[in-house]
Symmetry: none
Subunit: 133 residues, 4 copies
């Protein structure tokens, strides 16, 4: 996996990294139980402070996306669904509304948005069937 940090961006480094790792997993480019680079490796590679990488890993672990095994490294977690159907649906709706708001302001038409969603979907590793309770 290759990550890249724009330190000029106003988005905090740790958020950029979090987003990139989450996207890599969602796109199936990193699989469950795959090992990520060590904190020290990644911090050397990206030329950022080890604590910043550690923070990213900690945060993603708390979310259940990664898990760390002391002395062994950090790994992609098995997907779990601990949230209520209701909460998950609320979050999805909120995200979709945000997308649509921006799409309208950018001047897109309905069909363009639908087409883009359908097109990008192919790149993501969706679960099959309908998600848990």
């Amino acid at each position: 996996m290759e990550f890249n940090i724009e330190s000029a961006s106003r988005v905090p480094i740790y958020r950029q990294l979090v987003a990139q790792i989450r996207e890599a997993i969602a796109r199936g480019r990193m699989k469950p139980d795959e090992r990520l680079p060590s904190v020290r490796e990644l911090s050397r590679e990206l030329v950022i402070n080890p604590n910043t990488v550690a923070r990213v890993y900690t945060e993603l672990e708390r979310e259940g996306v990664l898990n760390t095994r002391q002395g062994l490294g950090v790994f992609v977690a098995q997907p779990r669904n601990e949230l209520t159907k209701r909460v998950r649906k609320e979050r999805l709706t909120c995200l979709v509304d945000g997308l649509l708001t921006e799409a309208v302001h950018l001047g897109f038409a309905r069909e363009e948005v639908t087409a883009t969603v359908a097109e990008r979907m192919e790149k993501f590793a969706f679960a099959h069937g309908v998600g848990g309770q």
Copy 2:
């Protein structure tokens, strides 16, 4: 238009307001040339600092979503598309990828996302035909 500020949220007040105004416009609940409440009115109504409201209006004006007519008030701007088709498409793709990343992590299936997008779309005031240059 009614706005509501959740002061118990970690999202800064000014961002909540910006988002709500943008969404109201995108949903067609506020139309071009419609007048918004004055800074003082809105700050009194929402019980927030006038500086915060002023900041919101300034920010949305900079974005081209609102415009101020000196002595008359603040109005919803006519939709403009200053960005090239290419840039706009890039932004849309980026937003869609963000949505899909979250959707996968929430455990949704393709069809659920497609359905939610289609359903929410009905609530938004999309332009007809295909957007500008």
Copy 3:
């Protein structure tokens, strides 16, 4: 609220604080929307590094126990239940088994454990009725 840190303990400072805040809330000694001391105040009072306090607050916010409002401070969150009934039950069972394991090793009898649970329960602010889905 008064907190006390044992820096001699092998339990990390930030975990001690997290536990104390969680317990204070569970016992109803801190109520929703109540403000906690600022990061700087608390770090001065407990004579620990402000980053350690910040970490505690961040962690509890991520858990949904606190929420921070930029520029205003950190507050006790309204209780929410985002986890699946199944996951919650699993966690409870696991915690109870841990308790019972220790109780047996300490040589307690059934009735003593039952009595202690009943007795301590009076000190905690349980919700009424049965928890969400």
Copy 4:
């Protein structure tokens, strides 16, 4: 006795094993004077480092839960109660408070906790009568 190590867990292997042995004894699935597998056997079976198993046995011996008879192996110790009633009661209270704190945050009601404790209790090998001095 069968133990199972979850290597994908953030809990150190040696702690997992310690907990499982303690629980097995508390549930009466291992009785006093029963022999445990040798360090080599167990490490081969669980596919973990022999040093890790050795550490587990040492730790449990220090606690008085196991004892080693040179050349013969490691055995479950006779239950002893070296702690005063007062100290033991303090520990129990502390553990119960920890359980109740979590239960409240998980949104359980009193009755649910009481019921779970009663239910799980059936699986544990409690001493009869009231514990020592």
